[in-house]
């Protein structure tokens, strides 16, 4: 059974196309990661599915209805951007405000306790640390006993302990039959929870696959080395792109081990070898740059 769906959805902002004929489906009880660099269209897609935006064309559906109809949102939970919490209001007041919108909300103390916020109930949200705000934002998504939640980078910036605790409560929710859509621009965050990943880039679905498959697609490494030889003359398998800055050459590839072996077996003279993971932004830039050639 489909819990949320976008069918050939296009969303324009003036001349900019934020989403370009996107198809996306979440089945009931599923945990899906929505991965993409900044500006890929993730938040626009979530906005359409949660009723805060309207598509330019195409169809969106939530719990079998139009997400813009409040009745379709009765079992929906969404994280607000934690920078947007009303700064002068107290944690307890914000929680009560959100709870008041739902027919059968979680008791306040239970919710605060579950997300480790009980001691902060009297604190103004403007005075919370980044991690505390993040936890409050996630807690708000669960305030109304939802059946489907959209969590935006729920654990980014949290310390290890808080992150584990949060993962645990998200898993618990999912184990109890809840549907989860996680958006992030870190594969690591999605990997910890979801098995299916939908990759968005430049407003299109680039991949809809397992975490392992997506890791192969976006898990690009940067090999940097100094070499007097112009490396572009070699035909390297799996090379995504080459950048040269003076003597320094940067090779982007999904398989760094193989690339280094190839360099060695070709007797390429090099020194100062460095291998680093790339950010999702870099990976996408390299991939789309290659497509354009």
């Amino acid at each position: 059974m489909i819990h949320a769906r976008a069918e050939s959805v296009t969303r324009r902002f003036g001349a900019t196309i934020a989403l370009d004929h996107v198809d996306f489906e979440v089945r009931r009880g599923e945990m899906v990661g929505l991965l993409g660099p900044n500006g890929a269209g993730k938040s626009t897609l979530v906005g359409l599915l949660t009723g805060s935006r309207r598509p330019t064309s195409g169809r969106v559906e939530l719990c079998g209805g139009d997400p813009r109809d409040p009745a379709s949102r009765r079992t929906l939970g969404v994280t607000p951007q934690e920078t947007g919490l009303p700064a002068s209001l107290r944690v307890g007041e914000v929680v009560d405000f959100v709870r008041a919108h739902f027919p059968d909300p979680l008791p306040r103390d239970e919710l605060l306790d579950r997300f480790g916020l009980s001691d902060l109930i009297r604190r103004q949200t403007g005075g919370l640390s980044g991690g505390q705000r993040r936890r409050l934002a996630v807690a708000l998504a669960f305030a109304g006993r939802p059946e489907i939640v959209f969590l935006d980078e729920p654990t980014t910036g949290l310390d290890v302990e808080a992150r584990r605790a949060l993962w645990e409560s998200i898993r618990e929710f999912h184990a109890g039959g809840g549907t989860v859509v996680l958006t992030s621009h870190y594969l690591e965050e999605i990997e910890a929870l979801a098995s299916r990943v939908v990759v968005l880039a430049q407003g299109r679905v680039l991949a809809d696959d397992s975490v392992a498959a997506v890791r192969g697609l976006v898990g690009i490494r940067r090999i940097s080395l100094t070499s007097a030889v112009p490396l572009t003359d070699f035909d390297f398998d799996g090379l995504v792109s080459v950048e040269r800055a003076g003597d320094r050459v940067h090779l982007l590839t999904p398989d760094a081990d193989r690339m280094v072996r190839t360099l060695v077996s070709h007797d390429v003279p090099f020194c100062d070898l460095e291998v680093r993971p790339t950010s999702l932004e870099e990976a996408f830039l390299a991939m789309t740059g290659k497509d354009a050639q």
């Binding site: 805060s52 935006r53 607000p80 007041e93 109304g144």
Partner: protein, 246 residues
């Protein structure tokens, strides 16, 4: 539904009152205008002081609503909290009603000092019946300005809303005859004023507190303005989706 409207109102009011200078700010300007312009110049003349107080109250009604909704709403829309509230399972009604309740309270906060200054420091006087009538008129004339503010707030980004509200409020105040006693404005203003929203509003106030004749044409114009701003407010609210990007 109404309970939710009260919850939205309380949330907004708490937010405003946690920053007391914002409350003081909106009460200061109409009170200061009373002390600077009305008390020293017409304070001793019962009839003129009464009319001038009515004008100042109309001015405060326009001023608070135009800025409170025009700028307040458009700034709210720029905050990431606003699109989040749109995902909660409430229709638009409680949010809207909450905003109106908050606006009415803020308006009362800015009007009470004006009324107190008029009572304590001028010869202005009204009968109890006229006073109650004036309170009712205040509620009625706030409607077009609330709708006007909402139209601006929902249609424009906050910087543009600020400019538009500032550009509108002086011509509206002067053109509607709020700065001059009844019949005392330059000729073209006298001809135009009854048909401006401010002019219609202040004429209704004058009629409530003094012998000013009730002007049917001017009232029809005020109803027409109210309908127009209502349609504009609904239209801009419906097309609004908060921030454009993100």
């Amino acid at each position: 539904m109404t309970a939710l409207a009260l919850i939205h109102a309380r949330f907004q009011i708490t937010e405003i009152f946690r920053i007391p200078i914002a409350v003081v700010g909106s009460a200061f300007w109409p009170a200061a205008s009373m002390l600077a312009f009305v008390v020293p110049f017409v304070g001793d003349e019962p009839v003129y002081a009464t009319y001038a107080t009515a004008s100042m109250i109309t001015f405060a009604v326009m001023n608070t609503n135009l800025f409170q909704y025009g700028i307040g709403v458009s700034e709210d829309r720029a905050q990431p909290w606003d699109p989040y509230v749109r995902t909660l399972p409430a229709g638009t009604a409680p949010r809207f009603a909450g905003r109106i309740l908050t606006g009415l309270l803020m308006m009362a906060v800015s009007l009470i000092p004006v009324a107190l200054i008029a009572a304590l420091f001028t010869e202005a006087s009204v009968t109890p019946v006229a006073f109650l009538l004036a309170v009712a008129v205040c509620a009625v004339i706030s409607i077009p300005f609330i709708l006007m503010g909402l139209s601006i707030g929902y249609a424009l980004p906050s910087k543009a809303a600020l400019v538009v509200a500032q550009i509108l409020f002086l011509p509206l105040a002067f053109g509607g005859g709020l700065m001059t006693p009844p019949g005392g404005a330059p000729g073209f203003v006298e001809n135009l004023a009854p048909y401006l929203p401010t002019g219609g509003a202040v004429r209704l106030m004058w009629a409530a507190v003094g012998d000013f004749p009730f002007d049917t044409g001017s009232m029809l114009a005020l109803v027409a303005w109210t309908t127009l701003f209502g349609a504009l407010a609904i239209w801009s609210y419906r097309r609004d989706e908060g921030r454009r990007f993100g």
